[in-house]
Symmetry: none
């Protein structure tokens, strides 16, 4: 009938007979009343870091932007197309979400490309090259640090980039305004694919393990 | 310690004790060997239409771009920032994915905005207005049909927009080249939030229910 | 004895030994006391959309008009022959039915003909051409939409035509009068031949799936 | 959700879990390949004489026109709306059906009205009056026979009207042409609601019981 990938059709049927069957009513209500997500989550396209999976969120919770390396450009009212800025505008002005989270992760291909001075354009359009230019200055400074290993430099830039995006978020007048009113909170997070560890940014900009001193955490680790 | 939303930390702990515990090894391998997703999925930011949920996909399967109204602009090598084009370039040229799926959904807020002639800019940047300009001509033609209901016009534009994005995908030389070689397939899909129905695009551009004549389908329904 | 089609005689014998045998008494009573159907159903002649089958109705329930594309003309007291208007008049004024349902369906040949600008008269009388003129203006507006596929345009016109017939029904003074008194309700329905789905018109004129949030519905699906 | 009659929704669910579930594939094929009915059946709107029930026919078999008193007007290429003529034209010219059956039945309200000289218009449009004018001359002659009982006169007119419609069918050039070629056969039938008896017209125009000397028949009657 169509050549739609069998793997995905099988996954869809599993969703219908499982999760959808369980949450049928929730989907119905969300369709009728509209979405009211509490959080705008800006994540990477990486196939190993799906926000709904990592935060075990159900339908209606997360409004999710995913671009290469989970980046937020500065506020640029220049009449150009800005997909990420459009999503931020819609989430804050229409959905009035309570939180914005910029979530990065380890082994990020985009960050790796930004750190590779020999990187050639992937196509005449050089879209990745242009896109990663958002962190080029930071990438050059970090790459020049020959005391850190390549893995350390990559993790460093992944985290610098998250802080950079959070700074850029504040250049959006409507983000700044609602933040000042205390109606909106901006957060940073970094997910370690290899260990499953979630690190969140604290007020100093450092990334810490929020679950470590949680009683539950040990239990989890035991289970794990 | 941080003001990271409790709801999300609780969800993360549930992920760690549940899914991550079950797939620990898979995450480890994916971290060491890198991702090799089979599909680039271009979806909407909508909180009710998470691709990994709808296709019940695990880590490593889907490279996911999410922007407002799951749109793909035309190939424009103009030196500007193009987040979606960058992701497509990376997925096709570096990850060499096998499929690109453009997935739209019902009750899409972006499409609704495009169909609203009275819509005012949401901010001085008017990012949503600029972004939705990608379907403005189609929106105007469809909105001019006064015989269809608003809901019918919206569904029509949601589907027209998917076909439009698929046409735009073919303007990317590398997409066209790999498609012609038979190394890449481009698909359209539309998810009905209220019913959970998945409709996929056939060779004529029509959206059909792929699960309907699958022997499995009835079984699932019985399970549901 | 006669050349009456064997297939139909065999079907008749099956009716006599099955359904009639079971409902013998009901037929006798209906013959003696006369019919008192609750519903006037205006359906298409299409062989795939028999109302008694789709609604599993027994003798005495549905007073059924079937014409090409289930259309209702406007009230025209012009002294001409109006078969459909005559049936509506009889059902409302003599039988005092409680409901009028206009039921359309997918893949309707009449609607397809209306959308085909190259359609030639099928005979010198051009009866289909004249009959489908009832939806000509709508057909032209919908056909002019070059963004929708032919199948999408057809479904759109099938539904527009149902709304159109419902508007026309209200031009009959006796329909309007009994509707205003709350003695008569007018409904729209659309049957999808390929999936068996029934869609009914809601107060906005949109077609929705009435069985979806019925507790029974899942059971049926399980049974199916 | 809608006020669609519960009785009909329940009937629809019964259809979906029963007959549709059994004939799912047949409906799918009929949707994809289109209908190819063998017979055009012209029947009455009467709720007690549904053709698919009486002939136990499945989807795709009968193309059915239903008007008050199952009448066929003469061929009138006068540019007016002729719903019944349009259906005949479509069935013969497009579907190329093999048989046309005009089926009347006992206790027909339309025939009863035609025989009632005191009958007043049911509305200012007097649609039934105009429609039944098709048999007015025959009705007057039969009503003037004061030797027959009213019941006998009614049965007589029901049968005269069937023969009259069959004569009118032959005024359609395309019916005549295909009949002469032996590609189309025209039949008459009369259904007795109270006994379930089917009478079919023989070459002399008489109505006979086709099943009486059929070996199966006794069996049926035993079962009945």
């Amino acid at each position: 009938m169509t050549d739609f990938p069998d793997r995905l059709l099988a996954g869809y049927r599993s969703f219908m007979s499982g999760r959808y069957a369980d949450e049928r009513e929730r989907y119905r209500v969300l369709a009728d009343t509209g979405q009211k997500p509490h959080t705008l989550l800006i994540a990477c396209c990486d196939s190993r870091a799906a926000p709904e999976t990592i935060f075990d969120c159900g339908p209606g919770e997360l409004f999710v932007v995913r671009n290469v390396a989970n980046m937020v450009p500065r506020y640029e009212p220049d009449g150009q197309f800005h997909g990420t800025s459009a999503a931020i505008e819609y989430a804050v002005q229409v959905l009035e979400i309570d939180n914005i989270i910029v979530m990065g992760h380890g082994r990020c291909g985009g960050i790796q490309a930004a750190l590779d001075p020999t990187m050639q354009p992937l196509s005449p359009g050089d879209f990745i090259g242009r896109w990663m230019a958002l962190v080029r200055p930071a990438a050059e400074q970090i790459q020049s640090n020959d005391l850190m290993t390549q893995a350390e430099r990559q993790t460093a830039l992944e985290r610098v980039s998250i802080r950079n995006s959070i700074v850029n978020l504040q250049t959006f007048p409507f983000v700044q305004k609602r933040s000042e009113k205390g109606e909106l909170r901006v957060h940073g997070a970094w997910f370690d694919i290899s260990t499953g560890e979630l690190w969140v940014m604290n007020e100093k900009g450092d990334f810490v393990r929020p679950d470590l001193d949680e009683p539950m955490a040990e239990g989890e680790q035991a289970l794990a």
